[in-house]
Subunit: 346 residues, 2 copies
C-alpha cells in the first residue's frame, strides 16, 4: 500500500477541501483533523472520509462556506449553530469556544447544532489538553443501536470522550456506546464470515452470528443495558440539549437524501489550573500512568496500555513511515484532485 508523509497529505487534503469551495484557512483546519486521525491509525475516521465529504459539498448537502455562529449565553456556556458546515470545522470552532470560556469561567461548555460527522472525538479533547484543560466531547451519529429490549436501531453509536493533560502525551479516552463498529459486521458479511455471539441482533431482535442478518437488524450496545444507557446520555448531551436532530432523525451522509444530517455535539473544557497547580495535576497523572504500566500482568499479557497509548504509538510510527492509503481511496482522492485542477497525490 502506498504511504505518504503527514505534511504532504496535510497540504494535499487542504488543497482538495479548498478546491471544493471551503476557504483556505478553514480547509486547513479540517485537513489537520483528518490527517491527525489517520496518523493515529484510526483510518475509518480520517482521510478515508474525505471523498464523501467533498461529494456532499458538491451536491449541496454540506455547506462549504458556513456562517458558524457562537452565541455566549452565560459566563461558562455557549450555543453554536454550525450552519451545516463540515463537522470537523464546526467541532474545532466549538471546542475553541469552550476553551475560551473556561479561561475566564473555569469551565466552558458548548452545545452545537446543525453540524455534520466530525470524525474522531479524540482530536477535540486533545485541543483542550494542549491548553492545560480536561476536554470532554459528546456527539450523536446516525442510528445504529436499539434501546435495550428493542430490535430496531434508535441511537447512534454515540461516543463519549475525555482528554487529560499528562507528562508528555495526554491521556485520551474515546469510546462508542456500541459493542463493536458496524464496519466490522459489513466486512464479515462481505467475506461471508460469521460474527461472534453478542455483537448483533437480527430483524426479529434475536441474537445472531450471521453477519448479513445482523446488517438487517442492529448492532448491540456495549455491556448490554449499560451501553444503552450511555448512548441515551450521549444523545441528550449532544442531540437533545443542542437543538439538533436526535435518534432516527439524524441523517446519514452516505444515503441519497439532500437534507442536512443535523448532527449535534457538545464540548466541555475544565481549566485545571483553577482547581490545583498544573504541575501537581500532571505529576498525579504521571504517577497513576506509571503505576498502571507497571501493574502485575495477567498470564500471556506483555504490556498494559493506557487508553490512547496505542494511537500515540501508531502516530509516532506513521510520522516516520508515512500514512498508508489504499488504492481505492487514492483513486477517489486523485479523481477529485483532477476535477479541481490540483496536482495528484503520488
Amino acid at each position: 500500500m502506498p504511504q505518504f508523509q503527514a505534511n504532504k497529505l496535510l497540504e494535499f487534503c487542504t488543497s482538495l477541501i479548498h478546491g471544493a469551495g471551503v476557504p483556505g484557512e478553514e480547509a486547513a483546519i479540517v485537513a489537520d483533523v483528518l490527517v491527525d486521525t489517520s496518523l493515529e491509525g484510526l483510518d475509518t475516521h480520517g482521510i478515508s472520509r474525505l471523498p464523501i465529504y467533498l461529494t456532499r459539498i458538491q451536491n449541496g448537502r454540506i455547506n462549504a462556506m458556513p456562517n458558524i455562529k457562537v452565541e455566549k449565553t452565560a459566563p461558562a456556556l455557549a450555543n453554536v449553530d454550525g450552519d451545516n458546515g463540515l463537522g470537523q470545522l464546526v467541532a474545532v470552532k466549538s471546542m475553541q469556544a469552550a476553551i475560551d470560556l473556561a479561561k475566564e469561567a473555569g469551565v466552558g461548555m458548548v452545545a452545537t447544532k446543525h453540524s455534520n460527522h466530525y470524525g474522531a472525538s479524540s482530536y477535540y479533547c486533545k485541543m483542550a489538553s494542549a491548553e492545560g484543560m480536561v476536554g470532554m466531547a459528546f456527539t450523536n451519529t446516525p442510528s445504529g443501536i436499539p434501546p435495550w429490549g428493542g430490535r430496531k436501531p434508535y441511537f447512534g453509536t454515540n461516543p463519549i470522550a475525555f482528554g487529560f493533560p499528562g507528562k508528555g502525551q495526554p491521556v485520551v479516552i474515546d469510546m462508542s456506546s456500541s459493542i463493536v463498529a458496524r464496519g466490522n459486521i459489513i466486512l464479515a458479511a462481505k467475506e461471508g464470515k460469521s460474527i461472534p455471539e453478542g455483537w448483533a441482533i437480527d430483524s426479529a431482535g434475536n441474537t445472531t452470528t450471521d453477519a448479513k442478518a445482523a446488517l438487517d437488524g442492529a448492532v448491540l450496545p456495549m455491556a448490554g443495558p449499560k451501553g444503552y444507557a450511555m448512548a441515551l446520555a450521549v444523545e441528550v448531551m449532544s442531540g437533545i440539549l443542542s437543538g439538533s436532530a436526535y435518534g432516527p432523525r439524524v441523517g446519514w451522509i452516505y444515503d441519497d437524501s439532500t437534507e442536512p444530517v443535523n448532527i449535534g455535539h457538545s464540548f466541555v473544557a475544565i481549566n485545571i489550573d483553577k482547581l490545583m497547580p498544573m504541575d501537581e495535576f500532571v505529576n498525579r497523572m504521571d504517577n497513576m500512568v506509571n503505576e498502571i504500566k507497571s501493574a502485575p500482568k495477567a498470564a500471556g499479557v506483555n504490556e498494559i496500555f493506557i487508553p490512547g497509548e496505542r494511537r500515540t504509538n501508531k502516530a509516532k510510527k506513521r510520522s516516520q513511515e508515512g500514512i498508508p492509503l489504499n488504492d481505492q481511496l487514492l483513486g477517489e482522492l486523485n479523481k477529485l484532485a483532477k476535477e479541481f485542477g490540483i496536482n495528484e497525490l503520488k
Copy 2:
C-alpha cells in the same frame, strides 16, 4: 421481611445519625439520601450502609462534625474539602455548590476531596434535575477492577452518572465501570455457586467461573477495555482532579484501618434554561422517551425501560408498601438505637 414507611425510616435514621454525633440538620440530609436510595430498591447503597457509617463515626474514622469548605475558584468552579464527613453530606453540599454556580455561570463544577462513600450517585443527579439542570456525578471507590491486561485491582468500580429533567420523572443514568457488582460474587461464593464466564479473573489473571477464586482475583470491567477506560476517566475526574486519594490508596471503610478513606468526587450542573427554553428541552426529552417506550420490541420482551425507570417504579411501590429491612440489618440498627437511647424501630 418487616417493612417500614419511608417517613418513619427517615425520622429513625435521622435520630440514629444524630445520636452518633452528627448535628440534626446534617443528619437529616444523610438520612434523606439513604432512605431515598432504599426506596428506589438500591438496597446495597441505602440504609444497609448505616451501621458501618455509624460504627466508623464512633471509632473516629469518619468525622461527625466536619467543617466542609467550599472554595469558589472561578465563576463556574469550586473546590470542596469534605473534612472526612459522611459522604452523603459532603456530596449534597458539593452538588448544591455546583448548582449555585450554574445559576449564574451556566455551568457549575465542583471537585471534592476528603470525603467518604457517598452511596448512590443518582440522588445528586436528581438534585440538579429538580433545579432544571443536567447533573453529572463522578466518584472513585476502593479498588475493585484491574487495568485491562492486569491481574490486580487498581481502579474502583468508579460509577458515572447523569440526571436529565423530564416530563414528570427525570431520566437518571447511573452505572459502574465494572461488569457486575462485587457483591454478586461474594454471594455466589457463599452459596457455593459458580459465576458466569467473563465476570472475573483469578489471582493469576485467568478468567474464572469459580466464585472463590474470583474473590482472590478481580472483577472485570464492563465491556472489557472500554470499562477500563471508563474507570480511568472517572478516577481522574474524581480522584486525581480533586486532590483526594486515587487508585489503591482509596481506603475501605470495612477494614480495620483508622485512616480516613479520602474518597474523591466531582459534580457538574448545567443550567439548561441558558441553552434552550426549559419547555422545549422537556418536550424533546418526553418525545424521545415516548419513542423509546413504543419502539419495536425484540422477541420475548414485554416492555422497554428508560434508564432509571425501574427504580422510579420501585419507589412508587415502596412508598405504598414500605421499605423492607432484613432481620440482621434491623437488629444492627436497633442495637445502635439502644446504645444512643433512641426508640427502637418496630
